[in-house]
Assembly symmetry: C2
Homo-oligomer: 169 residues x 2
DNA sequence: TCGCAGTTGAGACTGAGTCTCAATCGCTTC
DNA sequence: GAAGCGATTGAGACTCAGTCTCAACTGCGA
């Protein structure tokens, strides 16, 4: 296990203790899984990965643990243009936005201070007090564009759909 | 019926005819309802309104008609920070973004050419070909801020939830 | 050993949205 | 006005991400 993963487990344990909660084997396994491989992921995808690794964890526990991780601020719940949530690691406390490739599902992050500042100005002009914002730019990434239209190329989006379907059986 | 509503009905009829489809009584009623009152709305809210007015239209027809309206470009499907879709009128063909009040559910639209230009620059830098973008700024609107925290004030969000629940019974 | 709060998994439930299918509509042709 | 036919409809089953419930289990302190 990479050292940064252990650090995240410890961070979560500290938060749990502070709340009078416990770092159970299930919770630790989920945190390890989340922080060792996936940067952006879906709840069902995570559930499937755990099943693959023969770690028995129920759907309810996955969602419960994700909720706790969101509360600690270690994970963020985001909308990436699909009709369900995605989750992502929070590194430091830097806010960022997303370029989402609608062909392969890959996500490029970016942060632009100028964009943020302009948004604050707009809110001020409209007498609106912002608490959070959410910007996704949908389109086609460099790799997919170069590949051109290969309609049946196995992509991440499809793989997740298939995995989720098998899981429910 | 306000004259601009009839204009929208006619616009929809023209599109349908062009596609070899018909402007049925149900479709016309939905377009009239959408364009006479709601600016931003949810599918279930629309279904409830029709039921209230004793216009018998099924859930399937509502979704089918919304899909057609999206295809014509008269209506746009948007995410406003909740876990389901919202719909909005498209006036002309101006793209815009949203300030969403998390207290009362009201939506303020804005358009900022500078913001759009900056986004294009970011995409270019990341070799990403954008097709669409989606920016919501969540926060508190002027009215709600002035009212302060009135936790049990009947707001639009709650009203829609109650209506949707009654509808399913 | 007991009590008890926290935790778990299985599976029922929810709610927005989609799909299916038989019945109906409305137009054209005879 | 009857027949033919494609478009349309409503009812309700279905899907799927996410939530909730509940009985069983765990681990710790008294």
């Amino acid at each position: 296990m990479p050292p940064h993963v252990q650090k995240e487990v410890d961070r979560f344990a500290a938060f749990l203790q502070q709340q009078g909660l416990k770092l159970t084997a299930e919770r630790a396994a989920l945190v390890r899984e989340i922080f060792s491989t996936h940067y952006h992921f879906e709840a069902d995808e995570l559930l499937f990965k755990m099943k693959e690794k023969a770690v028995k964890i129920s759907r309810a526990t996955v969602y419960r643990t994700l909720e706790l991780l969101v509360k600690t601020g270690m994970v963020r719940r985001v909308h990436l243009g699909e009709d369900h949530y995605h989750y992502e690691h929070v590194t430091g406390n830097s806010h960022h936005d997303h370029l989402v490739c609608t062909t392969c599902g890959s996500v490029i992050e970016f942060h632009d201070a100028w964009l943020e500042e302009r948004q604050r100005e707009i809110c001020k002009k409209k007498h609106f007090t912002p608490t959070f914002h959410n910007l996704q730019i949908l389109g086609v990434c460099e790799t997919c564009k170069r590949k051109g239209e290969q309609p049946d190329a196995p992509d991440r989006v499809k793989m997740i759909q298939v995995a989720a379907m098998q899981l429910r059986k």
